[in-house]
Symmetry: C2
Subunit: 254 residues, 2 copies
């Protein structure tokens, strides 16, 4: 018989793992947890057993459970919080990447409250690549603006914008009064602009990015690099956005 010879408080059927076969224990555990989440054994938002409990159930070291949990967190299935526990993941925001992409409009359209703050404004000389994209000469000054944008108070995007300083010198002052970049551009005589091209990649965040986005280091960020132009075709800015991949989904309509 394969029955567990334990007393009444038998194990929650952790079940035996195939040891010494080709499959690492942590993978098997991740797989089972994934199945249990998909099948609803662990409901969305619900709490998962602690690492120690899982280690006990599967009869492995806690490290082995941790490896499995890290995997699931990276795949977006669970959220791990130090000192609190681990939880099954939820909810995503659709972020439309049309030519006219305005953060607050997009967020409001999804019945969420947009927000944001300027983290840093600085000035530097344009190096070759950036100068070319901005259509200015190398070494000319550019204004660099870092902004964290929120939806319902949760960090969603971390943006770094590069503006030619000659045209947008007033930007730093304007942003101090109102953190909306769109509003600041309007005040600079650019009532409208549109996205010309967007390049999208994904990678794990740097520690700072993870911190600012309040997201796990094991969770990827979507990285967009966009060039915005005004109606005259002049380049307004070159910007990089880092989206918490678990909370945002980019949408491209053709």
């Amino acid at each position: 018989m394969t029955d567990d010879p334990n007393g009444p408080e038998a194990l929650p059927a952790g079940g035996l793992l195939a040891r010494g076969q080709g499959v690492a224990l942590w993978r098997q555990i991740a797989q089972r947890l994934e199945r249990d989440i998909a099948s609803g054994v662990h409901a969305p938002g619900g709490r998962l057993p602690t690492e120690a409990e899982l280690a006990g159930q599967y009869n492995v070291n806690r490290h082995t459970v941790r490896r499995a949990m890290e995997e699931l967190e990276g795949r977006g299935l669970v959220r791990i919080e130090q000192g609190r526990g681990s939880f099954v993941a939820e909810d995503v925001v659709d972020y439309s990447l049309g030519p006219r992409t305005r953060f607050s409009e997009i967020i409001r359209r999804q019945n969420r409250e947009p927000g944001g703050r300027i983290l840093r404004v600085s000035e530097m000389a344009a190096e070759t690549g950036l100068a070319e994209q901005l259509g200015i000469r190398r070494g000319r000054p550019v204004i660099v603006v870092e902004r964290l944008s929120l939806a319902d108070g949760r960090p969603l995007v971390l943006g770094t914008h590069h503006f030619p300083a000659t045209r947008f010198g007033r930007l730093p002052d304007l942003l101090r009064a109102d953190p909306s970049i769109t509003a600041a551009l309007t005040a600079c005589g650019v009532p409208d602009y549109r996205r010309r091209v967007t390049r999208i990649t994904a990678r794990l965040p740097t520690p700072e990015e993870a911190e600012l986005l309040q997201q796990s280091r094991n969770r990827p960020v979507l990285v967009t690099e966009a060039v915005n132009i005004d109606p005259a075709g002049e380049v307004v800015d070159v910007s990089t956005g880092r989206y918490a991949a678990g909370r945002a989904q980019l949408v491209v309509e053709s």
Copy 2:
């Protein structure tokens, strides 16, 4: 003095780490390696010191070095290969997401050789969400095609396509003769189609995805979900693509 009192073959300036401060050792190591890669100390494609060597240089356990390396791999800076070593990362393919997205055309435009093979063709009943997107009734049969697409022999995208079986029943036979989906569709009377909407997210790959894409588990995949329609506006297929994020960059032009 803070000089190292060792002999001529002094340490490669591993330098001392700040122990017991707020910053984890593995983060400090990752940061230094990142700096060394950025500054060209380790050239792209070049080999990094072995884990054991780094552990020696920084005077930490090998696990600590491994944690740092995993971080860098996930961020796309290095590539780790079991039994071989670790290397500084390189090269990326631009994958344009226009309305007319054709794998082979995109790849050839970048002077690379497109390729691919059909992994699996099966039939199943459409569940609610899929049926709605395909514009058919729930439970009607759909053909599921899994295809691995390559550029210069390297896996780039793993695609799962869902076609309504009533209209595209001949697809399985056609794909057996030629793995090109575009060609098969043409043979089914769909000489042209275009992408209506694409949703993009990122996550870590499942073990199978990592295996098929020949990519590390710590490296994210870009996930696209697209709906293709024919000139009459009829839905041709709903497909999911998983791109090796280290080798591809999605480009959206507006």
